[in-house]
Every structure is written in C-alpha cells, then in structure tokens.
Symmetry: C2
C-alpha cells in the first residue's frame, strides 16, 4: 500500500453536493407541511385563469394527484403554458376546500411547450389509446399512461414482495438461450450486427452467420421454466420476472412480441392441489397488496379509462378459486351455441371459450385442470391413474381469458428420456434430462403474463397500453 | 349475467389444498422451534458416520446454514448418500453445542445420487471455478454458487429498495430496440428463426430478412438510457434493472455478452455534484443494507472463495467518495512507470490505470470527473466554461475498475441537433431530439454494472461466476 492522502480537489465537488434534497408532490401530499416554504419542479397541466390569479396543476409524475399552484397575475411569465416545465417557489397554504396549494412567490419556466408546433396533446382533450400510442415518446406525459407506469411499478414490487415473504429466490433466467424450449418454432434468432465480426468468429467449416458468435443457433427466450427447474433442484423455491419473446405474426389485443412473465418453480410438489394453491396465493396476495396500497391510483386509472365494474379486481382476492376439469369445461361449452368457432372436444379452448367459462363463473377466476396430454408440452407429467391426462392447469380470468398456465413437471428419468427422444430433443436437452439423474425431486411451476395481469387488474382492453415500449409485428419504434 | 352455481368439483381439489405449509431450514433456524416435530426436505451434503448414528447436513437452498440430521443406524436407507434428495421427519433438539438438530424418526430418499455415474462433484472436494462452470446445470448445488445466487437476489432487492424509498419508478426498458444507442456497432441483431415467417412478413421490396418482422433492423439493447430519458421527462425519477447485451469478442474476466445493468435517470439535474451524490447514495445505501441484512452469508461466501481483506465492502459505505478530475488522474498516472501500456493523455484509461487509481486511493471508490469530450458519447453535455470537457463521471472501484458511468445529458435542442446530424443519427433519433422540444428539462443519469457490483462486494475474480447462466463468445449453453 502506498501513501494515500494526496487528492486536492476542486472545491465545487466537496461543498454543496450533500445539501440537495428533492421535494416531490407525493411527499408534500403525504406529509402536508402546511405553512412551509417549498420549491417544486414539474410540468404544467390544467390551467385556469381567474381575475387575480392563475391556477396551475403542477405534475411531477410522483403521484396521480397534482398540486395546485396559485400564481398572482403579475408574476406569470409569458412562456408558462400548458405542457411547459417549470419551477415554483412559495408557501403551502390550505384553500377553502381544505386542500394544500402552493401560493407562488416566484416562477421559473425551464422549457416552453408550443402545442401548435407539433405537441400531440392539446389541453382538456381526451384521445383514443391508439392515437396516444403513436406518440410513444410523449405518451408518458398523459395522465392515463403515467398512472399506468406507476401501477406497473407497484405490481412488480407486489409480486417480488409476495415471493420474498415466502422465501422464493429471484433468478435472472437468461434472455439468450441455445434451446427454444417447447420447440414451437415461434422464436427470434440472434447474431452480431457486424458482418466483419461474424466472419472473424466463424470457427468451423459450414458454420452459418447465425451460429458464429455463440458456436450454435441462439434464440431469445420464450420461457425461463427449464432454467428455473434447474435452480429449484438446488434452492427449492425460485422465481423470475423478466422479458420473454414470441416471433408470432399476431396483432391481437392480447399479444406482444416482447412481454414480461412471472414464472415460479417449486421443488417437492408432485400434485395439482399444491400447484393451484401456490398460483392463487400469488394472484390473491398480490392483488390484495395493491388494493391496500394503491387503491387510490387504481380507482383513478380505472375511472379515466372507463373500466367495467363487472371486472372487479376484488374477485382476484377471494380464494379459493373455482376449479373445473377440462372434460367438465367441455360439457359446459358443448351446451352453448353462441360461439363463432364451436368447441371441439380434445382441441385447445379458443379465447371466446375461455371468456365464456369466466362469465359462467360470475366473472371470477377459474382453474381448468386435468388436460388431455396432447394439448400440453412434453414436459408435463401424466396423471398416474389416467395416462391420457396430464397434471396441467390454466387459470382463466375476466378480460384476458388465460392469465396463467402451470404444470407438474415430468420427473421420471426414463419417461422423460423417451419423450425427448420422440420429440427429437434428446441431444439438445441432455442437461434437462440429467437434472433427473442426480438427487432428483418432483417440481411444479407456473407462468403468469405480467401485462395480462395488468389488464385483469385495471380492465385495460389492449395489452399495448400496459407496457412502456410495446413491440408487435411491424412495430418496434424507438 | 347467467346462473352461476353449477360447478360440482372432484373433491380432491377442495379438501387438502390449503393445508400445505412449507418448512425450510431458514425458517427453523430463525424461529428455533425446539422440541417440535418437523418434516424437512432437501439434499444430503456433508455426512459423518459415527458408532450409533449418522450425521447428515440437510441443505434445502433456503440459507447457507445447514441443518444437521441425526439418523440412528437402523433407520438409514442404503440410497441415502451424498447428493441425494430426501425427506427427514423428527424432533428438533439442542445438541451439546446448543445448536438445533433434527433427530430423525423416519427418512425417505426421493432421488439417489451415484457419484460414479457422472455426478461432477465429489464430497469433501473443492474445485476451481472454471471446472464448476463447465457443469452449469449442476453448479447451483455447490455451496459457493448457491450462496452467490442468494446474494444476487439480495443485491437486486436492496437496489430496488433504495430506489423505491426515494420515489424512483421502475421502468422496463425494452430489450428489442430500433436504435443501437451509441452507434458503437457492437450490437446483436434479431430476426424470426422461421424462414417461412420471414418470407410472409416481407412487406416492401428489397426488405432484408433482418428487417421483415419489425419493418426495420432490430437490435438487442445496449442500454436503457435513452428510453429512461424519455420517462424522466414525465415521471422525474426513474430506474431500470434489466438485461443488456454486447456483441463483443472479449473473453475478459469483466465482460459478458448478456449482463444486467442498474440504470437511473433524474430530471432537473444539470450539474455533476448532484449526479455524484445520487450515484454514491445508491452504492453506499445498497451495500449498507446488504451488510446489515446478509453479513452472515456475505462472510460465508467471501470465506469460501478466499476473498481479499484489502477489498473491504465497508469502503463502499463510507461517503463522500474521493473525486478527481480526468486531468488530475492523468498527472498521477504519468508519474508511474509500472504499466504494461503507458497512459496517453486524452485517451481512455486502461483497466490497469483504473485499478492503479483505486489502489492509490487506499482501495476505496474514487470518482473521475470532467472528461475530454472526445472520450464520451455524443449525448454528454459540455461544461459551459470549458467546451472541450463534458459533465461525465466514472466511478472506479477495487477489483473491477469502472463500476459505474454517468453524465449530465445534452438538453439544448440546437446543440443536440447538430451533434446528431454530425453522427448521422438525426433521422433515427428524431424522437430523442424531440424530447427537448416540448416542456424540456435537464436530466442526468448513470449505469452500474450489476455483476461487477457483485464482484466488488464479494471480491469475485471472474464475472462468469456472478450470474446463473453466463453467456460469452462461443459460449451459450442451455
């Protein structure tokens, strides 16, 4: 070690840096510091001109609630208009409605906002979500979407809390993977953009540009499940909340090319009952937590978008949810003639069938269990006393239909080996098979579409309005 | 609404499902339920045979601490060997060392583990991390790596807590992006794997397969910064903790092709002082939280891997950190002749230079500020009274050198327009420029390499040992 004390620094970096303290609208409204002098920074939203004063709603994005700033007419800069960014300094007083407002002593406009110059949102107008979505980079400045973003943040915290409280360990499942999981073919493949780099890295004859970088085809993950199964065999309870991808040419209101999934996997579960219990514990405690902590903002958001009262998030809290077998669900659907595509026994349920079952159950969540094995992936475990059925479950919910899918995984080495061989995946998934060879245990797990969860909670019609930067076919802006 | 009460269910789904309660080693050691009868499930680690009994360490991954299970010789199944999974039922008693142990009444082995059959880890042996890494799917069963995974989970919770407490909103920056951020060229490009789908989706003449799906070249993100800048202009304080990618042919101990970044962006910051304050608040409060909550496991991990005492995480807690200008750093480095590559004024610092500066500062974190503008990206703001320098900062730390980079962003519409035009990015980053047009504010932000943060905290030599599924050139297994 050498002599250390030497650094004589420019004083501007030692004097003021620890004096800064931020003051947000959220803090003000939570602490109600009546009579105090405060400086606030944000954007001007609603503005009302009166005889003596102008009233401006200051929005800094920290809460859906805004702070009214009262500005005497002689202190109003010309550039203070709707949409501009500004700083207001003044005293917090209670108005006749007993609400805190800031009586401004000084106003400083940072950036003006001239609507006529191309700002896409005029004051006091509401727009169709599709119009708003065309202006992705300005969209967060709308009351609706900034509220959505705050609630998205709250949802992910609530999910992480639920798992942490129950000793689940968060794993970052990889985005880049050499297996395409279910062999469904709807995957994106990856290569370096630089042709030069690709050429440099080709290490074998006949290696394609798609294989050069990683020594093999590499895909964007469609699910972290198999990686979680590996982790559950060491840590018992694991979960992930991360991006997953589908190269599907679908523009439906329920699909994105990049979306988030909550996935959990637990060792020592070998039956549907415990799996159902784990799923409904997740959805119910998460929604309960949100209704307790963010009911104000949830109400605000649902109110702006005109959410249906039929789709009440409280329905997610009340457990146990109903359970119906696939066969029984088919019985119910067979009696109805209201479908565009009639239900065919032994085939997957269509979205309209899923939504019908939810409606049939009083718009409450409903589990469908005991599926025919041909409808579920190879890794799903067969039910011992009826080998044509598997331990799989879908959770159906209002607005979206399938919110969650899960299963008990095949844990028998020989059975899985045969299935992999049949699917032509034995080489590629050797590691997955080998998990069953040493210190093997049963595992079960599930995946919940994160954006669909927001759709259920908030009654959002289009999934593209639940994520900051939606990607779908022919659309990857910014 | 129709008549709802109809669902008669198979009783196996209503009776038992809410009786299940898990019991982990962590719970037992936290609650110390002496005298209680418990059932535990996990894997057999260390085993010691004595005259009357066999002592087995049960590891269920919930904690680095293990529960000793005492099994009378007549109750030991033959398949109970090192590495097997088993269930032990019995009574918790205190041994002469006053530690809880389970005196087993019954043992049930789930999956045997025959080391001779290819299990890569023999009992009582330690292996080089490089050997362990070759068995990625079994690696989490080693004491070292399971500990790392738990600490990784704790680090991400601590980061999220720090930001949530300060009213930052978490944004999921997109993985798929149509811009390659800094135009550095070290990006991965993405296309659907299915040739058929690509053909179907070609919508314009001369559109390449790489452009068909999204109507343009699409890349894996190298940074969420620009997207966060967009969000900070509505929500003031935002952050992200997600995967980022580099198509670099580098096998260094500090680089991965897929890694995680903590990125934060704050509106209304226009100077280095507040930026430094925000960075050191992040690193110091996060490390403080970890040392308070997980010191036991941190000590355990550092002990197994033989971490150096010189690299003490407490150094991250003590603020303020030292600050040195780039010029001053060059003065210091110029006096030394110990480098493989000598420092050239006006050029980037090499890793050995960074590590020297840290050593020079007593192995404590040190900020380097006021960089020449040519060494930093186009979006970095020039210092008003010296246009050859920019408001950029690197935080250098033991073991890794650069842990964090940040800057005040160029917020002047005209200046940025010129820079974009010079870099040929005006068309592509039109949206980024337009952020400065309406209700503009200054912003500043930073990015911390998540895996490097673990390297600093735990003194891990190779970054590949800090992430569940490391990806690097020619390596993307599983």
């Amino acid at each position: 070690m050498m002599n250390m004390k030497l650094l004589s620094l420019p004083c501007r970096y030692t004097l003021s840096r620890h004096l800064y303290s931020s003051c947000s609208v959220k803090d003000i409204l939570n602490t109600q510091p009546e009579g105090c002098k405060k400086k606030l920074k944000g954007w001007a939203k609603a503005m009302r001109k009166m005889k003596e004063n102008i009233f401006v709603d200051l929005d800094d994005g920290s809460t859906h609630r805004r702070l009214q700033v009262v500005i005497p007419k002689n202190k109003i800069p010309a550039s203070l208009t709707y949409g501009c960014s500004f700083e207001a300094e003044g005293v917090l007083v209670r108005n006749p409605n007993y609400q805190l407002e800031l009586v401004a002593e000084s106003i400083n406009v940072y950036g003006s906002c001239v609507v006529q110059d191309g700002y896409p949102f005029a004051p006091r107008k509401t727009y169709h979500p599709e119009y708003v979505r065309q202006h992705l980079h300005i969209r967060p400045r709308t009351a609706t979407f900034s509220s959505l973003l705050r609630l998205r943040d709250k949802l992910s915290s609530a999910v992480r809390n639920r798992f942490a409280e129950d000793n689940f360990i968060e794993i970052n499942a990889p985005v880049l993977s050499s297996n395409d999981c279910e062999g469904a073919g709807e995957v994106f493949a990856v290569k370096p953009d630089s042709e030069k780099l690709v050429k440099e890295m080709i290490s074998k004859d006949h290696q394609s540009p798609m294989e050069a970088f990683f020594n093999g085809q590499t895909y964007l993950t469609v699910s972290g499940q198999m990686h979680l199964e590996c982790m559950a065999r060491a840590l018992t309870k694991v979960y992930t909340l991360g991006p997953t991808f589908r190269a599907e040419n679908s523009k439906s209101r329920l699909h994105l090319s990049e979306f988030y999934m909550i996935e959990a996997e637990q060792a020592f579960i070998d039956n549907t009952e415990e799996l159902l219990s784990s799923i409904e514990k997740t959805t119910s405690t998460v929604v309960k937590q949100l209704l307790e902590n963010s009911s104000d903002e949830i109400g605000h958001y649902r109110n702006i978008i005109g959410a249906s009262k039929d789709n009440d998030p409280v329905n997610m809290v009340n457990v146990p949810y109903e359970v119906i077998s696939y066969q029984k669900a088919c019985d119910v659907l067979e009696k109805e003639n209201c479908f565009k595509n009639s239900m065919i026994r032994g085939k997957p349920l269509a979205k309209e069938h899923e939504l019908f079952l939810v409606k049939y159950n009083g718009q409450k969540p409903i589990f469908v269990v005991d599926w025919p094995k041909d409808l579920k992936p190879f890794y799903t475990k067969a039910i011992p006393n009826n080998k044509s059925l598997v331990y799989a479950v879908d959770l159906l919910c209002p607005n979206v239909g399938e919110l969650c899918g899960g299963s008990v995984r095949e844990d028998d080495y020989d059975v899985l080996k045969e299935k992999l061989s049949f699917a032509g995946l034995e080489d590629k998934l050797h590691w997955y098979l080998e998990l069953r060879k040493f210190g093997n245990v049963s595992t079960a797990g599930f995946g919940i579409g994160f954006e669909r969860f927001l759709q259920v909670l908030l009654d959002v019609q289009n999934i593209k309005d639940t994520i900051a930067f939606p990607r779908w076919p022919h659309n990857c802006k910014m």
